[in-house]
Assembly symmetry: C2
Homo-oligomer: 322 residues x 2
């Protein structure tokens, strides 16, 4: 079994390959060529252990995550975990890799693919609300799929973003300017594309159609019905909402709540995978307000992890156990 | 996270420490100081993926197993897997180790502890029915807890046991004689203690009270209601059956079938953990026919794995990921 650290992972896979992996995952999802059982979860003393298995045609595996909300007080990420790949024919574990960086990279790539398909090619400014680990990789991938000139950042809780900005500067093109915003309203006003990557349970921006009109929104947080990043105003502006998987309709408050309130119709919610698998595109993007919402599915993990594993074998990177 | 190969595991933990770990696990089980959810399993195209989580007071973890029955045709073990340990306070993965050798060692130790508590101290001969991976470690641990002078071996399917015997000779005391038997009847007749480690669905020995009387039986196989290693005659000879966990009453055909047939009473089935936790012993062992039956529980895995992990940290053995 090959064991890959976060550094190993980042050293073998390019951002472009990660984006390709996610596009491939969408085609597999659209074609139904997978078996993805419901997540298993164990809850014990405010600790959650999650097992997310997925079978493809030629590989299967499990992402194993721990969710410890109390870690936040200890300044430790609440999420930790591993990704395990198994040989499809024998079950033998073939690869084990850091699950935190895999999750961050694949979620970054999911956001990037979202931008690629739901925003015009000539967008120049991107805003990030929520400067955490996920947000970091969101900006990184955003800058891979579009030639952004300015990155705006706002975080309601982290007041000193120096370290975040310093790290970001090292990985995005040198000509991109990074600007800290004093409010989410300011950020949304100045950004063509807005990415939200928070754990908010209330909208992260003002409920104003005037403010939101013509912008392109990428929703990364809100993976529970009680979580929400977007105000009602967004529902009245969008023609359709693009989602990464049907399960989003059961998981995110950003769909469940406006649908329950009658502000959004089920028929307006569309799978981005259909667009990707058919090679289609959204027409007249530059005149539309768009919203791409991802909740994440195990297919992303397994396809991305398998791509990383193959690259690591090729590059002879990692630690071979036994 | 520390990654331990099968060699790492065997190099850091002694048989005595493994036996102590199992005895500690029994005390934890008897005192109820654990949380052990039901196993999760995913079945897909005749492949099974099992997650066996367990929480103790200071550590938690999961054994992840694959069961691929078709592997047998390919001469590959049908079982493979890994054991993951997590930090109790943060959820962080702390250790990952080979699950095959962990399972073999802890099952060996469970058998050894069974022998320690359910057989007289002066037994001289042990017989093994089923010369597979589990059987190998059963004999190894048996020879740690009793001064056996002769080991008898019988396997209905493996006709050439040369390799098995050669490997065994290297790990058991040099004065122990190893003898291959032509039948299970012959083996039982010559053995004071009989260990069965098969995947049999029919009894592995003749249904004869005369043959079985006064012997001490250790049942390792039969982990499903349809599996059975012992004939009805055994039920009529034993005063009590000792089990490793209450779940045995729902899992093994070696209890379910004789109880259903009215040959064994529920009240005759006792937890060995009660004996171990209370420091008690079975009286008049040398005049009794005894039966210890194990089905295995996740507490064994987590306690044994944690002991191995601590020893590996101490000895600075293993590969440190990130």
């Amino acid at each position: 079994m090959l064991v890959l650290s976060s550094r190993d992972i980042e050293s073998v896979i390019s951002y472009e390959e990660m984006i390709e992996a996610i596009e491939r995952a969408y085609v597999i999802y659209e074609e139904g060529k997978y078996y993805m059982p419901d997540r298993f979860h164990v809850d014990y003393k405010n600790k959650t252990l999650l097992y997310m298995p997925c079978f493809l045609d030629d590989v299967f595996g499990t992402k194993i995550l721990t969710v410890f909300p109390e870690n936040v007080e200890k300044k430790i990420p609440s999420l930790d975990g591993l990704m395990l790949l198994n040989d499809f024919e024998t079950g033998k574990p073939t690869c084990l890799m850091d699950g935190k960086i895999l999750t961050a990279l694949r979620t970054g790539a999911v956001g990037g693919v979202g931008i690629k398909y739901t925003t015009p090619e000539d967008v120049k400014t991107v805003g990030l609300i929520g400067a955490g680990v996920q947000g970091f990789y969101q900006v990184l991938y955003a800058c891979k799929v579009r030639n952004f000139k300015k990155v705006y950042i706002f975080d309601e809780y982290v007041k000193d973003l120096t370290d975040f900005v310093d790290r970001l500067r090292k990985v995005i093109p040198t000509d991109v300017e990074i600007i800290i915003c004093k409010s989410s309203e300011d950020l949304v006003r100045r950004s063509d594309v807005v990415i939200t990557a928070t754990t908010a349970t209330e909208p992260t921006m003002p409920n104003s159609t005037e403010l939101l009109r013509g912008k392109h929104f990428i929703g990364i947080g809100s993976y529970k019905p009680t979580m929400r990043e977007y105000p009602d105003a967004l529902s009245s502006l969008v023609e359709d909402v693009y989602i990464d998987a049907d399960i989003a309709l059961e998981e995110t408050g950003d769909l469940i709540q406006p649908i329950a309130a009658g502000l959004l119709k089920n028929s307006q919610v569309k799978r981005i995978s259909k667009l990707i698998a058919s090679g289609g595109e959204i027409k007249d993007l530059e005149h539309k307000t768009t919203f791409f919402k991802t909740v994440g599915i195990a297919i992303f993990d397994i396809v991305a992890a398998n791509a990383i594993y193959k690259k690591a074998v090729e590059a002879e990177v990692g630690y071979l156990l036994d």
